[in-house]
Symmetry: C2
Subunit: 337 residues, 2 copies
């Protein structure tokens, strides 16, 4: 009973602070959130909550604001809210006429940033194994070649290899023909075996190994972890409440995709459904004033790509989580073609 009300108080403080971005006081809570108790009672609860480190006051005579820990408690005790119907519909209508993968991702990231009014980030679907359909090898400059692998599931992977010699046109063409013959229709494992044999032939070109790696790598799903962003301007919105230098370091962290990607991976690993990192939980100085809501997406059971929203700790968690979840679900359905 008592625990119950304290939780309600915390809940109300979070919601109030998120809505107004001002510390919320006991009177405001009592009148507005009809908890049925007087300000004095709430003050007692507040003292207890502060004791536990869930809320804090910026200065002695101000209301309370949630701490990172407070947000954490709030988020953990949140019943999953559904995305409002109109927004739900927006997702399908807006995304359904995407023409291809990159268009889908592009639209999704834009949509997600609009729904959440935060920075949205989506990692391109990490690619599954697929059979090799065709390998093109194109000469580039003196000692380089472009390897293009088209896979049976309609992906195109390209990579560049350094030849280390200047092969004759004939040799070049022979290699291209042989590689195609050796791999056509094979999955990565089989292709790897065949190419290993092929590369080991006597008087083989010295770059056969590199070429084999490139082809097998492409069949395995490529290595690039491309990430796209949208909505960075939301960081600078006045009601985001971020200092100017905080904005700068967040932008920097975002451009440094590696950091963010690792973080997203971590989050997706130890969470089902939607994962949330709040403020200091990101373990990055630059992101200590921001929270991240992330989810994996991909074919059911094999969610291996990531998407998320990033914004100030003072964000609308239920709403953001609902939006992230909804977009992740939609993408999961759509991406498996």
């Amino acid at each position: 009973m008592l625990e119950e009300r304290r939780r309600a108080v915390l809940h109300a403080i979070v919601e109030g602070y998120v809505a107004t971005s001002e510390p919320v006081g006991s009177r405001a809570l009592a009148t507005h959130h009809h908890l049925g108790v007087s300000p004095a009672t709430i003050r007692n609860d507040m003292a207890a909550l502060e004791e536990e480190g869930l809320i804090a006051q910026p200065h002695t005579s101000a209301g309370r604001i949630p701490t990172d820990k407070g947000y954490r408690y709030f988020v953990d005790h949140l019943a999953a809210t559904a995305l409002p119907e109109p927004q739900r519909r927006a997702i399908t209508t807006f995304l359904s006429d995407a023409v291809d993968l990159s268009d889908t991702v592009e639209r999704s990231v834009r949509l997600l940033s609009q729904l959440t009014r935060q920075v949205a980030v989506i990692q391109y679907p990490s690619l599954r194994e697929a059979k090799v359909r065709r390998v093109e090898i194109v000469r580039m400059g003196q000692e380089r070649a472009l390897v293009v692998v088209v896979s049976a599931d309609a992906r195109v992977e390209q990579s560049t290899i350094l030849l280390g010699e200047e092969p004759t046109d004939d040799a070049f063409e022979r290699v291209a023909r042989e590689v195609n013959e050796a791999t056509q229709g094979l999955g990565p494992a089989a292709a790897e075996r065949r190419l290993a044999e092929w590369a080991a032939r006597p008087q083989q070109v010295p770059w056969a190994g590199l070429l084999a790696d490139a082809v097998v790598g492409a069949a395995r799903g490529g290595t690039v972890e491309r990430v796209v962003f949208s909505g960075t301007q939301n960081l600078a919105r006045a009601d985001a409440g971020l200092e100017q230098d905080a904005i700068g370091s967040v932008l920097e962290a975002i451009e440094e995709q590696v950091v963010l990607l690792r973080l997203l991976h971590e989050m997706a690993r130890d969470a089902t459904d939607v994962a949330v990192r709040i403020g200091g939980e990101t373990h990055h100085e630059a992101l200590s004033k921001t929270s991240i809501v992330a989810a994996g997406y991909g074919p059911p059971g094999g969610e291996s790509s990531l998407l998320g929203a990033l914004g100030p700790t003072r964000m609308d968690y239920p709403g953001t989580m609902a939006a992230v979840r909804a977009v992740a679900r939609y993408l999961s359905r759509v991406v498996e073609m």
Copy 2:
């Protein structure tokens, strides 16, 4: 003589303001920039410059700052400065070990943002006509097909077409074979003729036209105008002197790539060498507090891709222009392989 000194005064005001971000007064100019005249004289010149709208004072008892028009005059009367040797060397060393086009562009944009300490933007090289090397057509879902065109100059273009029917596998394969036979080794113009004939054959599949367009379009150079950014965090640097909401609208304008691209194109069109737009000259509300320094790059004579730096009007124009020019030159040399 008089004109001469006034110009020097303007020059000094611009440099002073850019360096300190504070309005610069007559005394500071007299002592620091050894113009050999007294503050009073400088005040007279300042009054004249203000009369002409080249400088302004933020309030009655403050020093002067350049107006957009003042910066414009400054830039127009600038001898092209060379990039300092160390930075010059940085370009070659840093960019020379890029492995392929996208790596080169990626490195370039990052480097440019570091050299200028501004937001750097590079448009992917706009692609030249090339011969068709190979066309792959891959089925995707029921009524879609992925068309991949590998061109002789080592590009890979992909696009998706809507079939509007469900062709049999046989028909599909026949089409793929025929298209390859019809276009192999041909440039866009020839390929277009051959494909037109081919598409007009009796009992041709209904999507032959679309397919032909896709192939010819790819040979023509593709349609995508991809743009990459780096250094957005520079907008939020304290010494950039941009208001928070200005940062927001600039970020928005950047994400809205269309606007920026059109602007860059305009700039490149009516300028040789490096082009500069200052503040209001961008004709965009969101960019009214920022300047853009841009240059075209590409094979000599056919500079058709763009790169540039974007920052607050109070920027180091000579330095930025030198960096943009240098990177553009480097890319022009490198990209034509």
